[in-house]
């Protein structure tokens, strides 16, 4: 096995688990394995899953645990290359022109133009800055929101880990960054992009692991309350037929909210008061209230 070119170097799956656990991110074996593979094989990692299952948090934990910068590219409809790659700093270019004029008096258009497209006028957007800062973690968040054209462009960058700027030349990373793409699966990604990536579907965690996550993310919440909260949330997720089942992020919010109100025990009154942290739909609100009545009455 040749050593990887990542500055992010790991020897085993267990090392991944312990390293990111140290930052408070509790992973399971499947997830740790896929991260390990992404690092060793230098492939981008595509994470899909329900909102709130910790896709973005994983990238943050990875950057944190390997002590490399995290560069985040948030996708949205209509995003284009100049927002993802680089742009020229227009006001500074104009200033530069005026300065040239003031000092020399003579302006050679050719020369001036060359001076204008200098590196120092280059605004590095996330992808370029990740390539320059590598080793780094590049998080391409919610890639399903971007358009098809952007996907194709991303594919190009991900297959070469380099960006070519006509006026300057090609910028390539000495060590490719670890790329994490996340998608909420609001639409199907192109197969070509999927083929480049290692794929992992993040499920909602089981009872035990969710308690662990909650305890590590919100240590101030008492163990007893944490367990109660997670039990209720897990039941809601599986049985209540909600429009938007709460994710782990909501569980943490809810537990924190309950803690702030000073409760150590989940009771109906406080649960109802803090429900806004857990459900975000009017219809769900009713259903959860009914379900809570049943669960907490026993």
């Amino acid at each position: 096995m040749e050593p990887t070119a990542h500055g992010l170097d790991v020897a085993s799956v267990e090392e991944v688990t312990t390293r990111i656990a140290a930052t408070g991110y509790i992973s399971d074996e499947e997830l740790a394995t896929v991260v390990f593979l992404a690092m060793r094989m230098q492939r981008p990692l595509l994470l899909e899953g329900e909102p709130g299952t910790g896709k973005t948090a994983l990238a943050e934990a990875l950057a944190d645990s390997f002590d490399v910068p995290l560069v985040r590219l948030q996708c949205y409809e209509g995003i284009d290359a100049s927002q993802a790659l680089y742009d020229w700093d227009f006001p500074r270019q104009i200033l530069h022109l005026r300065a040239l004029e003031a000092v020399a008096g003579t302006t050679d258009v050719e020369e001036a133009e060359k001076g204008l497209f200098d590196e120092r006028f280059l605004l590095a957007r996330p992808v370029l800055s990740a390539l320059r800062q590598a080793p780094a973690v590049l998080l391409v968040d919610e890639v399903d929101r971007a358009d098809d054209e952007f996907e194709a462009f991303l594919l190009e960058v991900l297959s070469t880990y380099s960006v070519s700027i006509p006026e300057v030349g090609t910028v390539s990373a000495p060590t490719p960054p670890l790329v994490v793409l996340t998608s909420n699966r609001t639409r199907e990604l192109h197969d070509a992009l999927k083929r480049r990536c290692l794929y992992h579907w993040i499920e909602h965690p089981g009872l035990e692991r969710e308690v662990q996550i909650l305890r590590s993310r919100a240590p101030e919440v008492s163990a007893h309350l944490a367990e109660q909260v997670v039990t209720v949330v897990q039941q809601l997720r599986s049985d209540a037929g909600l429009l938007k089942p709460p994710g782990v992020a909501e569980t943490i919010d809810w537990a924190r909210a309950l803690h702030l109100l000073g409760s150590d025990e989940l009771d109906l009154c406080r649960a109802a008061a803090t429900l806004g942290a857990l459900v975000k739909y009017r219809e769900d609100d009713d259903r959860v209230r009914h379900a809570l009545d049943r669960m907490l009455a026993v």
Binding site: L198, H200, W201
Partner: protein
């Protein structure tokens, strides 16, 4: 061991392909590399490696696990393609006619009204028209004005406001030897979105088939260079775009009639949709498109396939519009199994029984 590890793993990828997973050469190679990284001796490692490299959707994972079990712990015989539709199909008996197909609404000559006849005709259910009225209505289809939906592209056009067009401004500035001047602005350019029409031509839709074909012809001929595709779905999937490109509506409809082999047969909505998505949709035709499905939602038997395929279509498409000829009728409730299964995955649920409702559809498509 009688086989090299790589051989066994490659054989396994072939089994996966047979079971319907999108396994390609590069994916297989990535799988071998991943398995080597994790150590191919341990079943759990091979499984993880496969999950990461050979799966691309949550459905793939369950399918993968089934094949994995069968291949490596062969306790039960491999059932390749367990998800594919069963090969033997029950004979399709004639579907019951739609409950309220064309009754009510008396004969044409009894209508004596002061309002313009044309306006009345616009609102009438096309299923209940006499031959003469149908001929008049056919001419009125020309009044429909299809408007293609637009989408933004990554390119830009010059515009009088919006974001700064640095390149253009700078070029103009340089031309004036650095003297600042007018600031150019730009906005994203627009391109028409593709519109895909799926017409249900099963027995229960027979009384609407002609009107819907005319509608499709009007959309194809009235959209100019904007991409439009038309398919019929019944017991099978037929592409009739080419036939409908004929300028003359009567000839176009006759040509479409010759192309379609399964007029007024049964409905297999779920399977037809799957066929469309597999053969055309997922390859790019449905991607980012406005999908218009014209059907009454009569589905025989299980509707889970229909629900799955509608969900898939919604993920691929920009917008999914369901047009139901019964929707506009008094007292209509979406009770058919097919409609119930599909509704959660539909963006717009419209009526489609009269010219007025068709005009409404044009608006919704144009705004999509």
């Amino acid at each position: 061991m009688t086989h090299a590890a790589d051989e066994i793993l490659l054989g396994f990828t072939r089994a996966l392909r047979a079971a319907g997973l999108p396994v390609t050469q590069d994916r297989s190679l990535a799988f071998l590399a991943a398995a080597a990284e994790l150590g191919a001796g341990r079943p759990a490692s091979v499984r993880s490696a496969g999950h990461a490299t050979l799966c691309a959707a949550p459905e793939d994972v369950t399918r993968f696990d089934r094949v994995f079990e069968a291949w490596f712990n062969h306790k039960e015989p491999v059932q390749a393609a367990a998800d594919a539709p069963p090969a033997t199909r029950t004979a399709l008996s004639q579907l019951p006619d739609s409950e309220d197909g064309g009754e009510g609404e008396g004969e044409s000559d009894t209508i004596t009204v002061a309002a313009s006849d044309a306006e009345v005709l616009r609102q009438r259910d096309v299923a209940g028209l006499s031959a003469g009225e149908k001929r008049r209505l056919a001419r009125m289809f020309a009044t429909l004005r299809p408007r293609p939906p637009m989408r933004r592209t990554a390119r830009h056009r010059r515009w009088h406001r919006g974001e700064l067009d640095a390149r253009r401004t700078l070029r103009a500035t340089l031309r004036r030897m650095g003297e600042p001047g007018e600031i150019a602005r730009r906005r994203p350019a627009q391109r028409p979105r593709r519109v895909v029409l799926l017409l249900d031509i099963s027995g229960s839709m027979a009384s609407y088939a002609e009107a819907h074909l005319r509608l499709a012809h009007r959309i194809v001929s009235g959209s100019g260079s904007a991409p439009v595709e038309v398919f019929t779905i019944g017991t099978r999937l037929t592409r009739i775009t080419r036939a409908l490109r004929l300028r003359d509506p009567e000839r176009a409809i006759a040509a479409a009639g010759d192309t379609v082999p399964d007029w007024s047969g049964g409905t297999r909505l779920g399977e037809s949709l799957q066929a469309f998505l597999d053969r055309f949709g997922a390859r790019g035709m449905a991607r980012g498109a406005v999908m218009v499905l014209i059907s009454d939602g009569w589905e025989r038997g299980e509707t889970t396939l229909l629900a799955d395929q509608m969900a898939r279509m919604q993920r691929l498409a920009h917008r999914v519009i369901w047009v139901n000829p019964h929707r506009g009728k008094v007292g209509y409730e979406p009770v058919q199994q097919g409609v119930l299964a599909a509704l959660p995955h539909v963006d717009d649920f419209l009526a489609g029984h009269s010219l007025a409702t068709f005009a409404e559809l044009m608006e919704v498509v144009g705004d999509a």
